[in-house]
């Protein structure tokens, strides 16, 4: 067995995976806030468009990663939709744009029923974007650390956690009753998500401990990298979990929660970058020159 670290994908893909997940989660959570927490039409419109803007920013990096970025329009030629997660992702992303914009228009003109259906469709696509970022890596059979069903789950949970963090930032500046209510709902949801993320990570590394050679090498690379252990696990997960849990029990603690959110946002990026970095091919012996 020859173990070789992958170098085809790097920063650009990590940035895309991060902003794709963050944008998708922001759309889903923002519209949920408007539809279910009576946050008002401007909140719905604002968060849906903010999510799409973040997603667009991420897509720029994906395009820049192409051998020839000018060929990006070919991505719309989704002939491989039956089996390729980039093709499926293009459909999901297009759906997020179409339904997100239609939702924003419906919210603006207050077409209530249409807004609701477009909102749910946009939420579904936003959710889809968060999950597909994990499935994208998952399809690489030669990299066993990615080729596990846990990865899409980890990326989805992490994306929603970063989405919650961003919404807490948006909501921290508002003092009306609905905003307070939704802020605490999002805060509670983020505490749940960070706890779940820690649990998935534990399961992931416990699997890796007993896994094959490439998986063990990937996990060893991560566990010996301070950017992962201290940067992501301690500062990006455990610290914000404690801070948010503490803030949720105190009055006037939005500042603390917003600080914890910043840590979550940085941690979310580190997770994607480091998972991409730690991809190790497991080639049959003799293949790697």
């Amino acid at each position: 067995m020859d173990l070789v670290q992958q170098h085809t994908w790097g920063w650009f893909i990590a940035i895309y995976l991060y902003f794709g997940g963050l944008g998708g989660a922001t759309i889903a959570l923002g519209i949920l806030g408007e539809l279910r927490f009576n946050k008002g039409k401007w909140f719905g419109i604002g968060t849906a468009l903010l999510g799409l803007a973040i997603l667009s920013f991420g897509l720029i990096w994906l395009i820049l990663d192409l051998i020839n970025p000018l060929r990006f329009l070919l991505a719309l030629w989704v002939k491989g939709i039956a089996h390729s997660w980039i093709a499926r992702g293009m459909i999901i992303i297009t759906g997020a744009y179409v339904f997100g914009v239609l939702y924003a228009l419906a919210a603006f003109f207050e077409w209530t029923t249409f807004k609701k259906w477009m909102g749910y469709a946009a939420m579904f696509c936003g959710f889809g974007v968060t999950t597909y970022t994990g499935l994208l890596l998952n399809a690489n059979v030669g990299i066993p650390f990615w080729h596990t069903p846990a990865l899409p789950v980890l990326f989805t949970v992490s994306a929603f956690s970063t989405g919650c963090a961003l919404l807490m930032w948006v909501l921290a500046g508002k003092n009306d009753h609905e905003s307070e209510h939704f802020f605490h709902a999002v805060e509670g949801f983020d505490i749940f998500l960070i706890s779940l993320e820690l649990l998935i990570l534990f399961a992931y590394f416990d699997f890796a401990r007993l896994g094959n050679a490439a998986v063990m090498k990937s996990s060893h690379m991560l566990l010996t990298n301070p950017l992962f252990t201290i940067g992501f696990v301690v500062l990006g997960l455990i610290a914000p979990l404690i801070l948010e849990a503490y803030a949720s029990m105190k009055e006037n603690s939005k500042g603390l929660a917003a600080f914890a959110s910043a840590l979550v946002l940085i941690g979310g990026f580190l997770l994607r970058y480091l998972i991409v970095w730690a991809g190790v091919f497991q080639y049959p012996h003799g293949l790697a020159g």
Binding site: T8, W77, I81, I86, V141, G289
Partner: protein, 201 residues
Amino acid sequence: MARYGMVMNVKTCLGCKACMAACSQWNQTPFWAEDGGKWRTRVTELQEGKFPEVKREFFPTICMHCVNPPCHSVCPTGATYINKDGIVLIDYDLCLGCGYCIEACPYDARYEYEKDDLEKDEFYFGEDARHHQVHVDKCTFCVDRLAEGEEPSCAATCVGHARIFGDLDDPKSEVAQLVNSGKAKPLGEYMGAQPKVYYIK
């Protein structure tokens, strides 16, 4: 319709790398690239065993032209396709250049044919240059030579008879006999790609 495959006899590979030279000239692969070039086929030098029972082996590799190719599964635009003879090919006009197939291939068979490579291709081959746009590149079993009834350039040039090419569906062919007898086995079967390149070790 055929089902083309290849048998690599590691025991008879001399390590002369004539296959690499022949392939790179016929297919104009970037032998000029940094860090030893980019190749559709490679011969890796291996040292096996421990002193004093140590030996050097030469290990030829190529695209495995899998029956269930992961590179085909992940290709978003359908640029990667399987032709009627079971050869995995790339339609350069449709290649987005996302590199997803390079990541998905568990046999390290693909590389990027970049802008610099196009310029060098034109520099070395002039009017005969065959690459005119950036794309992901890989072995084609020299599909253009097959159309003219010739073997792939690597097999045709091999002096040690280490590369045996033929139709796996033709029971009389040497390649089918080696595979059917169990002497030649594919690499990394556990990955489920079902390669059509087999090895005698």
